[in-house]
Symmetry: C2
Subunit: 255 residues, 2 copies
DNA sequence: CGCATCATTGAAGCCCTTCAAGACTTGTGG
DNA sequence: CCACAAGTCTTGAAGGGCTTCAATGATGCG
């Protein structure tokens, strides 16, 4: 039986919350919020709610509209991802999250989170780690946009989405994003995005498909991108890192 | 009497560590490390030391060398800034920090930090906050590089440096960075950086000066940049935020 | 005084953008 | 079930912002 919270459970496990006890204590704090259509905001810029949001199903993005009306997408979010938990620490955050497909979302009230964090320090720690991971993605995006021409830039972006979808246990053969979405994330015009995607198709990497990027030659894509996914800190790295904490001990891990 | 740790104290206060008791407990953990010349690394990529570094005096940058040999600068660091405290949480971080002027640095051993963090939860909290602040700068840099043409892009970059230098109590009339440094941070060629700086001089905003960017018309610079510094979360914003925590309570603040 | 770093200038050209229009797909209401 | 609208994808043409290459002028330091 597949439950709607499974991707979230998987995500929390990847963040170091692996005990059944912790998960049983945390999951009931989730309150189902509803479904949201593509194009609508899941979290609005400037709002300061007393809760944070979890994306149970669907694809979304963290973005900002610039002063000249353009949209810069910082990161994508998929099933199981935390949307705006930085708001738990920094309530006046300017972050906005938009749905890129039909999304199912749930919320956690900050006061519940706070109580749980006091009981389970691993939780505070997982949230912190999640925030650091996002910062790592920001840095990679900076390198991508600042230094790489369109072809490797787009290839890198697609590689990241594949790896993250796979790590979340989702289908990664077709990335659920439009060319417009990718263009706003890569800081390229949609016209040039379209032409470069056609180049990737001629290279045998992508297939023609409407609504979504279909990858047909994964290895060649990674080769073009020269993709180095270490910045994503996947579970195998997490192991090393948990081992380190085990030897060192950590105030946030102490009961 | 001006001490070499004054900028650091100021920085810690801005991060919410305002009690004398906490500061008296934390400062002795600092061990003087030495002076480092421009061009040398303060923190090397890939290293996993058991300590973190503080920049007591000088200017530095967090950067990465890309696969094609270019340097992307993520953020600048000034007197009093924490260099690599993310290493405390994520030891395998790939961050590298280079000195951009002659720098004085000190270190804190992680085991000392850990003991202090257990006694003073405000410390954990300040470090977390510092990391979130850096992530906020990354996002702004993404908007800057992804969406703005050279002139406002460079203007924005300079504005940020002025504000941060002022917030640290340092002289902000001349930004202690070369055109090469700025170019690597703005993801522009040095040639184009030079030409755009000349444009800013013709606009009466900058003065001709070797080694350093001299700002002579601050207001006009901010106007050109349309600078909105809220992302820097300056002390006045911190106040609001501390007040929020006061009303809400927070597990990391509980003893 | 010579060397290294930094700043400057000119010329050529390409990557990418903008504008504009058309084809295709999807969803919705009559 | 069709028609229309909205969103997505595609294509062509023109142009400009920025890069690269290459060389020269400044500045400062040992």
């Amino acid at each position: 039986m597949v439950r709607v919270v499974d991707p979230l459970v998987r995500r929390l496990r990847n963040l170091g919350l692996d005990s059944e006890e912790e998960l049983r204590a945390i999951l009931p704090l989730l309150k189902f919020k509803g479904r949201i259509n593509r194009g609508e905001d899941i979290v609005q810029a400037g709002s300061s709610p007393h809760y944070s949001t979890v994306l149970l199903e669907g694809a979304a993005c963290r973005y900002k509209i610039t002063e000249n009306g353009r949209r810069q997408i910082f990161t994508f979010r998929y099933s199981g991802d935390l949307c705006d938990f930085s708001r738990y620490m920094l309530p006046e955050s300017d972050e906005a999250i938009a749905a890129l497909s039909e999304c199912t979302v749930a919320i956690v009230r900050h006061e519940d989170l706070q109580r749980a964090a006091a009981l389970y320090p691993n939780l505070s720690f997982a949230l912190w780690r999640d925030a650091m991971l996002e910062a790592s993605i920001f840095r990679e995006r900076l390198v991508n946009i600042g230094q790489r021409p369109a072809l490797p830039r787009i290839a890198n972006l697609i590689c990241e989405q594949m790896i993250r979808l796979e790590a979340a246990g989702l289908d990664a053969s077709t990335i659920p994003l439009t060319q417009v979405d990718l263009a706003d994330a890569a800081a390229l015009s949609t016209v040039h995005m379209n032409r470069t995607i056609q180049d990737l198709r001629e290279l045998g990497v992508l297939a023609k498909s409407t609504r979504g990027i279909e990858v047909v030659h994964r290895d060649r894509l990674f080769e073009i991108a020269k993709f180095d996914g270490r910045y994503l800190n996947l579970p195998q790295h997490t192991m090393k890192w948990m081992a380190f904490l085990g030897t060192q001990g950590h105030p946030l891990l102490a009961a």
